[in-house]
Symmetry: C2
Subunit: 150 residues, 2 copies
């Protein structure tokens, strides 16, 4: 039985482990002991922000998935709020069990609770499986996602 | 001479006018007199949020452009902050003068000031000119931008 809850500080090591256990994530995360303090600093900023939630999926006591969801008020679309999902990962041991879909469905339910008119995310064009996954869940691939490193 | 400042409540009518003066925007905005209250509600939410800024470009007293920028702490990328730009418009009378590029450059400078490692945006695949515009400014089209209406 899977349940979802807001991440706590003690989940952070496990969260970074999942983020790093990924082709792209392994190149940009630092899953080290002790964890680099930058992660706790980000955790605290998210935790303090009422429009930002870090959510974990748990099976019993084990954290098996994570995503971050941000709620943003915009002037566009008649002043509508949007939810943005980012940093979605499930632990490799549970892949193939549909946990990823449950994570996203949970994110969608949070977006609805908050009255968002839209839920959005970007996915790296290299992640062709992820694109198909999101399209199966009902996302429309209508936009280009542009990034600039600073 | 163009200058930038945070939008004030009295700019809102002009901002919605610019958002609506656009092929896609005209289908989804309501530039009416009086302005539907949903816009002021969104303005107040943005104004109250320290991680969210509505910025206008002005020439003398005239508002000639607008964009919204949101600063978000993430766990991914070693706890890096990102800036997301949305709702970029210039007034039709000034198009062709490079004002759009100045808007985005201003957004990039705000993102740098806030220590963001990345600035990002999505653009509708139907806006082929916009895609070329952002690529010329140095954005990489690395991601798919997926949306789901709720």
């Amino acid at each position: 039985m899977i349940h979802f809850r807001q991440a706590a500080a003690q989940d952070l090591e496990r969260i970074v482990e999942m983020l790093a256990d990924d082709d792209l994530g392994s190149q940009r995360e630092r899953f080290e002991d002790p964890l680099p303090p930058c992660y706790m600093k980000a955790f605290e900023a998210i935790d303090a922000d009422p429009n930002n939630e870090l959510v974990v999926a748990c099976e019993g006591n084990a954290v098996i998935g994570v995503f971050q969801i941000t709620f943003t008020p915009y002037i566009t679309h008649q002043g509508g709020w949007r939810a943005t999902i980012e940093g979605v990962r499930t632990c490799s041991a549970v892949r193939g069990r549909g946990i990823g879909a449950k994570l996203i469905e949970w994110g969608i339910s949070l977006a609805k609770e908050r009255g968002c008119h839209l839920v959005q995310l970007t996915t790296d064009k290299k992640r062709t499986d992820a694109l198909r996954f999101y399209e199966r869940l009902g996302f429309q691939n209508t936009h280009e996602g542009l990034k600039m490193k600073l």
